[in-house]
Symmetry: C2
Subunit: 189 residues, 2 copies
DNA sequence: CAAGACATGTAACTGGTTACATGATTCG
DNA sequence: CGAATCATGTAACCAGTTACATGTCTTG
Protein backbone atom coordinates (compact mmCIF):
# COMPACT_ATOMS: atom_id res chain seq x y z
CA UNK A 1 0.00 0.00 0.00
CA UNK A 2 2.86 2.41 0.35
CA UNK A 3 4.38 2.56 -3.10
CA UNK A 4 1.57 4.94 -3.94
CA UNK A 5 2.60 7.22 -1.15
CA UNK A 6 6.24 7.10 -2.06
CA UNK A 7 5.23 8.12 -5.58
CA UNK A 8 3.13 10.96 -4.21
CA UNK A 9 6.04 12.22 -2.14
CA UNK A 10 8.25 12.19 -5.19
CA UNK A 11 5.68 13.83 -7.48
CA UNK A 12 4.95 16.54 -4.95
CA UNK A 13 8.63 17.42 -4.98
CA UNK A 14 8.54 17.51 -8.78
CA UNK A 15 6.09 16.20 -11.43
CA UNK A 16 7.53 13.49 -13.66
CA UNK A 17 6.88 10.83 -16.26
CA UNK A 18 6.80 7.15 -15.39
CA UNK A 19 10.30 6.75 -16.69
CA UNK A 20 11.70 9.63 -14.70
CA UNK A 21 10.04 8.25 -11.59
CA UNK A 22 11.59 4.87 -12.24
CA UNK A 23 14.99 6.50 -12.26
CA UNK A 24 14.30 8.36 -9.05
CA UNK A 25 13.50 5.00 -7.53
CA UNK A 26 16.98 3.89 -8.48
CA UNK A 27 18.36 6.68 -6.34
CA UNK A 28 17.04 9.37 -3.99
CA UNK A 29 13.62 8.17 -2.87
CA UNK A 30 14.70 4.68 -3.89
CA UNK A 31 17.09 4.60 -0.95
CA UNK A 32 14.08 4.22 1.30
CA UNK A 33 11.60 2.53 -0.96
CA UNK A 34 12.60 0.39 -3.90
CA UNK A 35 10.35 -0.27 -6.87
CA UNK A 36 10.77 -1.52 -10.41
CA UNK A 37 9.57 0.40 -13.42
CA UNK A 38 6.85 -2.17 -14.03
CA UNK A 39 5.38 -1.62 -10.61
CA UNK A 40 5.56 2.11 -11.09
CA UNK A 41 3.68 2.11 -14.38
CA UNK A 42 0.99 -0.13 -13.01
CA UNK A 43 0.59 1.97 -9.91
CA UNK A 44 0.52 5.24 -11.84
CA UNK A 45 -2.35 3.90 -13.94
CA UNK A 46 -4.32 3.01 -10.85
CA UNK A 47 -3.56 6.29 -9.14
CA UNK A 48 -4.78 8.25 -12.12
CA UNK A 49 -7.96 6.19 -12.25
CA UNK A 50 -8.48 6.97 -8.59
CA UNK A 51 -7.88 10.65 -9.21
CA UNK A 52 -4.80 10.99 -6.98
CA UNK A 53 -2.68 12.23 -9.85
CA UNK A 54 -3.33 13.73 -13.24
CA UNK A 55 -1.33 12.94 -16.36
CA UNK A 56 -0.74 15.44 -19.14
CA UNK A 57 0.18 13.99 -22.50
CA UNK A 58 2.88 15.71 -24.54
CA UNK A 59 2.85 14.41 -28.11
CA UNK A 60 6.33 13.95 -29.50
CA UNK A 61 7.08 13.72 -33.17
CA UNK A 62 8.36 10.29 -34.04
CA UNK A 63 8.58 9.21 -30.43
CA UNK A 64 5.91 7.68 -28.27
CA UNK A 65 3.99 10.31 -26.33
CA UNK A 66 5.23 11.44 -22.96
CA UNK A 67 2.89 11.63 -20.03
CA UNK A 68 3.80 13.85 -17.14
CA UNK A 69 2.04 13.22 -13.88
CA UNK A 70 1.27 15.76 -11.18
CA UNK A 71 -0.45 15.30 -7.84
CA UNK A 72 -4.09 16.44 -7.62
CA UNK A 73 -5.73 17.95 -4.57
CA UNK A 74 -7.21 14.56 -3.82
CA UNK A 75 -3.73 13.07 -3.94
CA UNK A 76 -2.36 15.73 -1.63
CA UNK A 77 -5.15 15.04 0.81
CA UNK A 78 -4.54 11.30 0.70
CA UNK A 79 -0.86 11.81 1.28
CA UNK A 80 -1.47 14.10 4.24
CA UNK A 81 -3.88 11.61 5.72
CA UNK A 82 -1.50 8.71 5.33
CA UNK A 83 1.43 10.69 6.70
CA UNK A 84 -0.39 11.56 9.87
CA UNK A 85 -1.31 8.01 10.64
CA UNK A 86 0.88 6.00 13.03
CA UNK A 87 3.38 3.87 11.17
CA UNK A 88 3.28 0.13 11.69
CA UNK A 89 6.37 -1.81 12.67
CA UNK A 90 8.55 -2.66 9.74
CA UNK A 91 9.42 -6.32 9.61
CA UNK A 92 12.94 -7.29 8.64
CA UNK A 93 13.84 -9.73 5.93
CA UNK A 94 17.51 -10.37 5.49
CA UNK A 95 18.75 -13.35 3.52
CA UNK A 96 22.19 -12.46 4.66
CA UNK A 97 21.36 -12.68 8.37
CA UNK A 98 19.60 -16.00 7.84
CA UNK A 99 22.64 -17.39 6.05
CA UNK A 100 24.90 -16.07 8.74
CA UNK A 101 22.79 -17.74 11.37
CA UNK A 102 22.86 -21.01 9.45
CA UNK A 103 26.62 -20.67 9.02
CA UNK A 104 27.14 -23.31 6.38
CA UNK A 105 30.47 -22.02 5.07
CA UNK A 106 32.85 -19.46 6.56
CA UNK A 107 34.35 -18.91 3.12
CA UNK A 108 31.14 -17.91 1.40
CA UNK A 109 30.09 -15.76 4.33
CA UNK A 110 33.37 -13.91 4.21
CA UNK A 111 32.95 -13.38 0.48
CA UNK A 112 29.40 -12.08 0.86
CA UNK A 113 30.48 -9.86 3.68
CA UNK A 114 33.22 -8.25 1.65
CA UNK A 115 30.84 -7.53 -1.20
CA UNK A 116 28.25 -6.07 1.12
CA UNK A 117 30.81 -3.96 2.86
CA UNK A 118 31.88 -2.42 -0.44
CA UNK A 119 28.26 -1.64 -1.33
CA UNK A 120 27.67 0.02 2.00
CA UNK A 121 30.81 2.09 1.68
CA UNK A 122 29.68 3.17 -1.75
CA UNK A 123 26.27 4.24 -0.54
CA UNK A 124 27.70 5.99 2.45
CA UNK A 125 29.95 8.02 0.18
CA UNK A 126 27.02 9.06 -1.95
CA UNK A 127 24.92 9.97 1.08
CA UNK A 128 27.70 12.03 2.55
CA UNK A 129 28.31 13.80 -0.74
CA UNK A 130 24.61 14.57 -0.98
CA UNK A 131 24.55 15.86 2.57
CA UNK A 132 27.54 18.13 1.99
CA UNK A 133 26.04 19.46 -1.19
CA UNK A 134 22.45 20.08 -0.15
CA UNK A 135 22.44 20.45 3.60
CA UNK A 136 25.43 22.45 4.62
CA UNK A 137 23.56 24.27 7.37
CA UNK A 138 21.26 21.69 9.02
CA UNK A 139 20.18 23.90 11.88
CA UNK A 140 18.51 26.24 9.40
CA UNK A 141 16.32 23.58 7.83
CA UNK A 142 12.53 23.60 8.06
CA UNK A 143 9.66 21.55 6.74
CA UNK A 144 10.24 19.40 3.69
CA UNK A 145 13.95 20.14 3.64
CA UNK A 146 14.33 19.12 7.23
CA UNK A 147 12.52 15.88 6.43
CA UNK A 148 14.82 15.17 3.53
CA UNK A 149 17.85 15.79 5.65
CA UNK A 150 16.64 13.60 8.50
CA UNK A 151 15.85 10.78 6.09
CA UNK A 152 19.35 11.09 4.70
CA UNK A 153 20.77 11.04 8.22
CA UNK A 154 18.95 7.75 8.72
CA UNK A 155 20.55 6.36 5.61
CA UNK A 156 23.97 7.45 6.81
CA UNK A 157 23.38 5.87 10.17
CA UNK A 158 22.27 2.57 8.63
CA UNK A 159 25.28 2.43 6.33
CA UNK A 160 27.74 3.23 9.06
CA UNK A 161 26.44 0.57 11.37
CA UNK A 162 26.26 -1.95 8.53
CA UNK A 163 29.91 -1.35 7.76
CA UNK A 164 30.80 -1.78 11.41
CA UNK A 165 28.91 -5.05 11.45
CA UNK A 166 30.70 -6.30 8.36
CA UNK A 167 34.01 -5.48 10.01
CA UNK A 168 32.98 -7.38 13.10
CA UNK A 169 32.08 -10.42 11.02
CA UNK A 170 35.32 -10.31 9.08
CA UNK A 171 37.32 -9.96 12.27
CA UNK A 172 35.56 -12.96 13.78
CA UNK A 173 36.12 -15.06 10.68
CA UNK A 174 39.77 -14.23 10.19
CA UNK A 175 41.16 -16.61 12.82
CA UNK A 176 39.26 -19.40 11.09
CA UNK A 177 41.08 -18.88 7.80
CA UNK A 178 42.16 -22.17 6.36
CA UNK A 179 40.84 -24.01 9.40
CA UNK A 180 37.39 -24.47 8.03
CA UNK A 181 37.16 -26.87 5.22
CA UNK A 182 38.11 -29.06 2.41
CA UNK A 183 36.05 -28.00 -0.58
CA UNK A 184 37.52 -24.56 -1.17
CA UNK A 185 40.79 -25.38 -2.85
CA UNK A 186 42.09 -23.52 -5.90
CA UNK A 187 40.04 -23.97 -9.01
CA UNK A 188 37.84 -22.19 -11.52
CA UNK A 189 35.44 -19.60 -10.21
CA UNK B 1 12.37 -17.86 -2.07
CA UNK B 2 14.02 -17.56 1.28
CA UNK B 3 11.30 -18.36 3.75
CA UNK B 4 12.01 -21.98 2.98
CA UNK B 5 15.62 -21.54 3.90
CA UNK B 6 14.83 -19.67 7.07
CA UNK B 7 12.59 -22.58 8.03
CA UNK B 8 15.35 -25.04 7.24
CA UNK B 9 17.79 -23.12 9.42
CA UNK B 10 15.33 -23.20 12.26
CA UNK B 11 14.42 -26.87 11.85
CA UNK B 12 18.06 -27.89 11.67
CA UNK B 13 18.60 -26.25 15.02
CA UNK B 14 15.59 -28.12 16.37
CA UNK B 15 12.64 -30.00 14.77
CA UNK B 16 9.25 -28.40 15.40
CA UNK B 17 5.56 -28.29 14.53
CA UNK B 18 4.09 -25.56 12.37
CA UNK B 19 2.82 -23.78 15.41
CA UNK B 20 6.14 -23.87 17.20
CA UNK B 21 7.83 -22.54 14.09
CA UNK B 22 5.31 -19.72 13.91
CA UNK B 23 6.28 -18.73 17.41
CA UNK B 24 9.97 -18.85 16.60
CA UNK B 25 9.21 -16.48 13.79
CA UNK B 26 7.81 -14.08 16.37
CA UNK B 27 11.20 -14.08 18.05
CA UNK B 28 14.67 -15.53 17.45
CA UNK B 29 14.86 -16.29 13.74
CA UNK B 30 11.98 -13.86 13.27
CA UNK B 31 14.33 -11.01 14.10
CA UNK B 32 15.90 -11.53 10.68
CA UNK B 33 13.04 -12.97 8.69
CA UNK B 34 9.43 -12.36 9.51
CA UNK B 35 6.62 -14.69 8.47
CA UNK B 36 3.03 -15.26 9.46
CA UNK B 37 1.69 -18.63 10.52
CA UNK B 38 -0.32 -18.90 7.31
CA UNK B 39 2.79 -18.55 5.21
CA UNK B 40 4.58 -21.07 7.35
CA UNK B 41 1.91 -23.73 7.04
CA UNK B 42 1.68 -23.28 3.31
CA UNK B 43 5.42 -23.44 2.90
CA UNK B 44 5.80 -26.50 5.15
CA UNK B 45 3.30 -28.35 2.99
CA UNK B 46 5.23 -27.54 -0.14
CA UNK B 47 8.56 -28.39 1.43
CA UNK B 48 7.31 -31.79 2.51
CA UNK B 49 5.96 -32.44 -0.97
CA UNK B 50 9.38 -31.56 -2.33
CA UNK B 51 11.07 -33.86 0.16
CA UNK B 52 13.07 -31.17 1.95
CA UNK B 53 11.52 -32.01 5.29
CA UNK B 54 9.65 -34.94 6.73
CA UNK B 55 6.69 -34.67 9.09
CA UNK B 56 5.90 -37.22 11.78
CA UNK B 57 2.33 -37.28 13.05
CA UNK B 58 1.71 -37.68 16.78
CA UNK B 59 -1.94 -38.52 17.46
CA UNK B 60 -3.28 -36.75 20.51
CA UNK B 61 -6.36 -37.85 22.40
CA UNK B 62 -9.11 -35.27 22.05
CA UNK B 63 -6.81 -32.77 20.36
CA UNK B 64 -5.99 -32.43 16.71
CA UNK B 65 -2.91 -34.36 15.72
CA UNK B 66 0.48 -32.76 15.99
CA UNK B 67 2.95 -32.96 13.15
CA UNK B 68 6.62 -32.51 13.90
CA UNK B 69 8.87 -31.64 10.99
CA UNK B 70 12.54 -32.49 10.62
CA UNK B 71 14.96 -31.71 7.81
CA UNK B 72 15.78 -34.52 5.40
CA UNK B 73 19.13 -35.07 3.72
CA UNK B 74 17.72 -33.43 0.62
CA UNK B 75 16.78 -30.41 2.71
CA UNK B 76 20.21 -30.23 4.25
CA UNK B 77 21.76 -30.33 0.81
CA UNK B 78 19.46 -27.60 -0.49
CA UNK B 79 20.27 -25.43 2.48
CA UNK B 80 23.99 -25.88 2.02
CA UNK B 81 23.71 -25.05 -1.64
CA UNK B 82 21.68 -21.91 -1.01
CA UNK B 83 23.98 -20.76 1.77
CA UNK B 84 27.04 -20.95 -0.41
CA UNK B 85 25.54 -18.83 -3.14
CA UNK B 86 26.29 -15.10 -3.21
CA UNK B 87 23.56 -13.08 -1.57
CA UNK B 88 21.75 -10.46 -3.63
CA UNK B 89 21.42 -6.88 -2.45
CA UNK B 90 18.56 -6.40 -0.03
CA UNK B 91 16.32 -3.53 -1.06
CA UNK B 92 14.99 -1.27 1.66
CA UNK B 93 11.35 -0.47 2.21
CA UNK B 94 10.62 1.90 5.01
CA UNK B 95 7.27 3.64 5.32
CA UNK B 96 8.73 5.66 8.10
CA UNK B 97 11.56 7.08 6.01
CA UNK B 98 9.12 7.93 3.22
CA UNK B 99 6.89 9.77 5.66
CA UNK B 100 9.84 11.55 7.12
CA UNK B 101 10.92 12.64 3.70
CA UNK B 102 7.42 13.89 2.91
CA UNK B 103 7.32 15.66 6.25
CA UNK B 104 3.62 16.42 6.38
CA UNK B 105 3.39 16.95 10.12
CA UNK B 106 6.13 17.42 12.70
CA UNK B 107 3.73 16.31 15.41
CA UNK B 108 2.92 12.94 13.93
CA UNK B 109 6.53 12.32 13.03
CA UNK B 110 7.57 13.02 16.60
CA UNK B 111 4.89 10.66 17.85
CA UNK B 112 5.96 7.89 15.46
CA UNK B 113 9.56 8.43 16.36
CA UNK B 114 8.92 8.06 20.06
CA UNK B 115 7.02 4.83 19.51
CA UNK B 116 9.76 3.44 17.28
CA UNK B 117 12.42 4.43 19.72
CA UNK B 118 10.70 2.51 22.48
CA UNK B 119 10.42 -0.57 20.29
CA UNK B 120 14.08 -0.40 19.38
CA UNK B 121 15.07 -0.02 23.02
CA UNK B 122 12.95 -3.02 23.86
CA UNK B 123 14.55 -5.17 21.19
CA UNK B 124 18.00 -4.03 22.10
CA UNK B 125 17.40 -5.09 25.68
CA UNK B 126 16.28 -8.51 24.58
CA UNK B 127 19.24 -8.92 22.25
CA UNK B 128 21.67 -7.89 24.95
CA UNK B 129 20.09 -10.22 27.46
CA UNK B 130 20.32 -13.03 24.95
CA UNK B 131 23.93 -12.23 24.23
CA UNK B 132 24.85 -12.19 27.91
CA UNK B 133 23.06 -15.45 28.48
CA UNK B 134 24.24 -17.52 25.53
CA UNK B 135 27.47 -15.97 24.34
CA UNK B 136 29.50 -15.00 27.34
CA UNK B 137 32.79 -15.98 25.71
CA UNK B 138 32.56 -14.93 22.04
CA UNK B 139 36.17 -15.64 21.20
CA UNK B 140 35.56 -19.32 21.89
CA UNK B 141 32.69 -19.65 19.43
CA UNK B 142 32.86 -21.83 16.33
CA UNK B 143 30.54 -22.85 13.52
CA UNK B 144 26.80 -22.55 14.06
CA UNK B 145 27.24 -20.82 17.40
CA UNK B 146 29.53 -18.23 15.91
CA UNK B 147 26.95 -17.60 13.21
CA UNK B 148 24.20 -17.15 15.76
CA UNK B 149 26.30 -14.73 17.70
CA UNK B 150 27.29 -12.69 14.66
CA UNK B 151 23.66 -12.48 13.56
CA UNK B 152 22.77 -11.25 17.02
CA UNK B 153 25.58 -8.70 16.85
CA UNK B 154 24.02 -7.41 13.66
CA UNK B 155 20.69 -7.04 15.39
CA UNK B 156 22.34 -5.14 18.21
CA UNK B 157 24.10 -2.87 15.78
CA UNK B 158 20.88 -2.12 13.88
CA UNK B 159 18.98 -1.34 17.06
CA UNK B 160 21.67 0.91 18.43
CA UNK B 161 21.92 2.95 15.29
CA UNK B 162 18.13 3.12 14.98
CA UNK B 163 17.90 4.53 18.47
CA UNK B 164 20.59 7.08 17.67
CA UNK B 165 18.65 8.09 14.57
CA UNK B 166 15.44 8.49 16.55
CA UNK B 167 17.28 10.71 18.99
CA UNK B 168 18.60 12.80 16.16
CA UNK B 169 15.11 13.24 14.75
CA UNK B 170 13.65 14.18 18.10
CA UNK B 171 16.44 16.65 18.72
CA UNK B 172 15.84 18.27 15.35
CA UNK B 173 12.10 18.48 15.93
CA UNK B 174 12.22 19.88 19.43
CA UNK B 175 12.92 23.50 18.45
CA UNK B 176 9.85 23.34 16.25
CA UNK B 177 7.56 22.53 19.16
CA UNK B 178 4.43 24.59 19.00
CA UNK B 179 5.71 26.43 15.95
CA UNK B 180 4.33 23.99 13.51
CA UNK B 181 0.64 24.02 13.21
CA UNK B 182 -2.92 24.63 13.97
CA UNK B 183 -4.68 21.30 13.92
CA UNK B 184 -3.05 19.64 16.91
CA UNK B 185 -4.82 21.33 19.79
CA UNK B 186 -5.91 19.46 22.91
CA UNK B 187 -8.65 16.97 22.36
CA UNK B 188 -9.57 13.33 22.58
CA UNK B 189 -7.05 10.80 21.39
C1' DC C 1 22.68 -0.22 -41.61
C1' DA C 2 22.94 -3.55 -37.92
C1' DA C 3 23.71 -3.97 -32.80
C1' DG C 4 23.07 -2.39 -28.73
C1' DA C 5 21.25 0.87 -25.37
C1' DC C 6 17.29 3.87 -24.14
C1' DA C 7 12.37 4.59 -23.22
C1' DT C 8 7.91 2.74 -22.28
C1' DG C 9 4.95 -0.45 -21.53
C1' DT C 10 1.85 -5.51 -20.75
C1' DA C 11 1.29 -10.26 -18.88
C1' DA C 12 2.02 -14.11 -16.00
C1' DC C 13 3.71 -15.91 -11.85
C1' DT C 14 4.87 -16.15 -7.00
C1' DG C 15 5.19 -14.80 -2.40
C1' DG C 16 2.91 -12.19 1.40
C1' DT C 17 -1.29 -10.37 3.71
C1' DT C 18 -6.02 -10.46 5.22
C1' DA C 19 -10.08 -12.69 6.22
C1' DC C 20 -12.27 -16.66 7.55
C1' DA C 21 -12.93 -21.52 9.82
C1' DT C 22 -12.90 -24.99 13.54
C1' DG C 23 -12.29 -27.36 17.64
C1' DA C 24 -10.09 -27.34 22.52
C1' DT C 25 -8.97 -25.00 26.77
C1' DT C 26 -9.25 -21.53 30.22
C1' DC C 27 -11.36 -18.12 32.93
C1' DG C 28 -14.80 -15.09 34.95
C1' DC D 1 -21.84 -21.76 30.57
C1' DG D 2 -20.48 -18.10 27.44
C1' DA D 3 -16.34 -15.34 26.00
C1' DA D 4 -11.80 -15.18 25.19
C1' DT D 5 -7.67 -17.45 23.83
C1' DC D 6 -4.87 -21.21 22.03
C1' DA D 7 -3.72 -24.22 18.19
C1' DT D 8 -4.14 -25.28 13.52
C1' DG D 9 -5.39 -24.64 9.28
C1' DT D 10 -7.76 -22.89 4.11
C1' DA D 11 -8.97 -19.35 0.64
C1' DA D 12 -8.94 -15.07 -1.74
C1' DC D 13 -6.66 -11.12 -2.71
C1' DC D 14 -2.87 -7.96 -3.55
C1' DA D 15 1.89 -6.43 -4.14
C1' DG D 16 6.37 -7.48 -6.12
C1' DT D 17 9.20 -10.04 -9.56
C1' DT D 18 10.30 -11.97 -13.96
C1' DA D 19 9.69 -12.40 -18.66
C1' DC D 20 8.33 -10.47 -22.75
C1' DA D 21 7.15 -6.62 -26.36
C1' DT D 22 7.93 -2.55 -29.23
C1' DG D 23 9.72 1.43 -31.13
C1' DT D 24 13.71 5.02 -31.08
C1' DC D 25 18.29 6.71 -30.81
C1' DT D 26 23.22 6.21 -31.01
C1' DT D 27 27.32 4.52 -32.71
C1' DG D 28 30.81 1.62 -34.94
Amino acid sequence: MALEHAILVSLVEQPATGYELARRFDASIGYFWSASHQQIYRTLTRMETDGWIHGTVHPQAGKPDKKTYAVTDVGRAKLGQWSRQPTAREPLRSDFAVKLRGFASAESIARDTRVRRAEHVDRLDRYRASEAKHFAEPSQLRGAELGQWLALRGGISVEESSIAWCDEILAALEPLDGVTDANEGPGPR
